[in-house]
Symmetry: C2
Subunit: 197 residues, 2 copies
């Protein structure tokens, strides 16, 4: 299953913290697919997150997030900046896409944003996340900011847009698209059904 | 629990067909609260449903609806007109709000829209729905189109907007607002928790 996300997206946080446990239980494999929602929202004619542009929905979203985190047993603090820039960790997750620790790295970054209210687009915090995993921060950040990797994040984001992605999280099971943390279980059901065929 | 809905709203259909069975199981009572999303969307600066205005999300919604209906065992046909005008059945459901048959009437109207693809804003189809329940169509339609009831639907819609409603379905448990069919079970959990206090 492909899991398309943006580290700045609060509903992506809910899925990021849950997806590998669900995948493990179901014998599925997760491909972590970082993207940048900013260019996607711009292509839809929005200058920011719909939660910022639509005041009423925005007010509701924070109530909903607190309830959803409580329901799933996840820590939560409303970030003081929303949506947070997420280019550096997205580049990092992209170039580490085949590493066994990519999921752990992503959960660490999401937790920094939505629990510890940290600036996740900084070298300092991305380095801390890498070092916590026993990795060389300087080596991985160098790979992340290589021109070819920067270009790849742009083309991945463009590919998401072309696939019809308009928000995050979005899951793909083959060609089938599922939007929103509320559809994560449905996406796994579809994956299991596809496996059974 | 208050259940705010618009007969033209596809996700309201999912809740309308499920809510009384869930309420019965949990010993809760449902108040059917018809409103008109048109004026609410206008107050948010939208000229139509977000599913019409946002092409990408609109395309996804019909896939999602087919899946959700299959999951809940509900019949489904994508309506040929969306969103359908729903003023007459909304007025009817409002003036029948305390009748024991209001839920059955609402399910019938939703089914006409989202299964039989009928013009639910017509006297003919509203009459058929009433007569199927053994009621006098002419008497109830007369009550529905009385000036005082028309005014009441406007003020109810205005009250929804003032409460922070920005879409449908929306559920209220006391002051707590829950938006979307995906939160119906959570709203019932909150109602049960409130009862237990």
């Amino acid at each position: 299953m492909e899991f398309w996300f943006d580290f700045g997206s609060n509903y992506s946080y809910l899925s990021a913290m849950r997806i590998e446990e669900l995948a493990h239980r179901q014998g599925e494999r997760v491909q972590w697919k970082p993207m940048l929602l900013g260019p996607i929202f711009k292509s839809l004619g929005w200058e920011s997150s719909p939660f910022v542009l639509q005041k009423e929905k925005g007010a509701y979203v924070w109530t909903d997030m607190a309830r959803q985190c409580a329901k799933h047993g996840l820590a939560w603090r409303k970030p003081s900046v929303f949506p947070r820039a997420s280019v550096l960790p997205a580049r990092l997750a992209l170039c580490a896409g085949d590493e066994p620790w990519v999921g752990a790295f992503c959960r660490d970054i999401f937790t920094r944003n939505f629990v510890f209210d940290q600036d996740i687009d900084s070298v300092q915090h991305v380095s801390e996340a890498l070092e916590a995993l026993g990795l060389s921060a300087s080596m991985w950040i160098e790979r992340a900011v290589a021109v070819s990797n920067k270009d790849k994040l742009r083309s991945e984001t463009e590919r998401a847009r072309a696939l019809g992605v308009f928000g995050a999280p979005t899951f793909f099971v083959g060609q089938e698209m599922f939007w929103g943390n509320d559809r994560l279980e449905d996406a796994f059901d579809a994956a299991r059904a596809a496996d059974a065929q």
